[in-house]
Symmetry: C2
Subunit: 209 residues, 2 copies
DNA sequence: GGCCCTATTGGACAAGTGCGCAATAGGGGT
DNA sequence: ACCCCTATTGCGCACTTGTCCAATAGGGCC
């Protein structure tokens, strides 16, 4: 009954961040404590601070990893699209598929915690920017190929993203809307925003039938 | 130096909630403690629990009061409108005027805290519903008088509100957008949603010139 | 095989939390 | 003027938090 198996610094750091992600997923960002992460790892709490400067840093890194994974998933899904319209449809598909996911809840907690945790705020802002950037690149492609219309691509991307976020908020925070409504309405909003024919972005339910 | 001036239970309760609101405004919901509220009042911490069952209840009541005041302000502003379109424009005016306000930040914190505080969650859901209801009543009026078009008033209200929320999120949480952009884009979105002529909801900047 | 480096331990620490309770004091009703 | 009711006090309690540090132990290099 001695110490936990000795690991290389890289492995251990990795394990710590992974454990933090798991606890975050289960209990939320604000309720994730050093001791919880240590318990998840099966090690002592002192070990955490041997690899991490502060709890703020750890939470920021765990959030960045989790949210970054989500972004990477969507990015990968989008890449398989034939043209811009197809890629935009895949963007919504991928977003909607995070159905049983805590994606949006995570963002909510990050925004609120950001007031007290500078590192977490930096991570959140950077990832938000990356999502906008992904969406803008799809739209830019569509405009250049003449399949989408927009005289301000950046702005259009913000509007599409904001509608999606606002609708998701109602699902996660209030339970006032269903995922299906968010899915249909956000696609319809994007179609109008980008001068697409209504329905071309196809709701999941419609396309899977 | 004896006890604080004796007050009637009603006055004292009122004073406690008011003090809690002030602390909430200054430090945020999550960072509002019993001792902070007592210090704001200039009384002892024990007094708080003599009037309030739990911190959850107190925070919920303080949030409900603060957010309820915001809603009442907008409701009052809206009532002075001549017709539905005018009232909708006033709705956006009132929302935009809360410029130096902590309105949206308060909602953010409420959503995140709601996970741990049932009473706060109830208050937040109820007020959210009230905002939607106010917006829906304006739209219903417009549709009935033929100045607005919508085949699903409830849904339209959710979409207008969600776009506004999503855009505000970018201002408050990330600083990625400006209030002016939110104002212009949310009005334009509502005009499209309700079949209004572009510009009739008039941005604040345009109308004040 | 032994030694040293460092990963790992486990608890101390100070600061903070919500809540409860015995003691106090002040004002209104008689 | 007195007395009782209760608003108010001020501290204690049990618990949690992040952070730190001396002690320990295990594995790789000579």
């Amino acid at each position: 009954m001695g110490a936990m198996a000795r690991m290389s610094p890289q492995e251990r750091r990795e394990a710590i961040v992974t454990a933090a992600m798991a606890v975050m997923e289960r209990q939320g960002i604000a309720a994730t404590t050093v001791r919880d992460v240590a318990a998840e790892l099966g090690t002592s709490s002192g070990l955490i601070h041997h690899y991490v400067d502060s709890m703020d840093d750890l939470l920021a890194e765990a959030f960045a990893r989790a949210a970054g994974d989500d972004l990477a998933t969507t990015r990968a899904a989008v890449e398989s699209g034939q043209d811009a319209v197809d890629r935009l449809a895949l963007f919504f598909d991928s977003y909607a598929r995070a159905d049983d996911d805590f994606g949006m809840q995570r963002w909510l907690e990050a925004w609120a915690e950001a007031a007290r945790r500078p590192a977490l705020q930096r991570a959140s802002r950077q990832l938000n920017e990356a999502w906008h950037s992904l969406l803008a690149s799809i739209i830019r492609d569509g405009v250049e190929h003449g399949t989408m219309r927009s005289d301000d691509i950046e702005a259009a991307a913000w509007r599409v993203l904001s509608l999606l976020d606002g609708l998701m908020l109602q699902v996660v925070a209030h339970g006032a809307l269903t995922r299906a409504q968010v899915d249909a309405w956000s696609r319809a909003g994007a179609e109008r925003e980008l001068g697409l024919r209504p329905g071309v972005l196809g709701a999941v339910s419609a396309r899977s039938m």
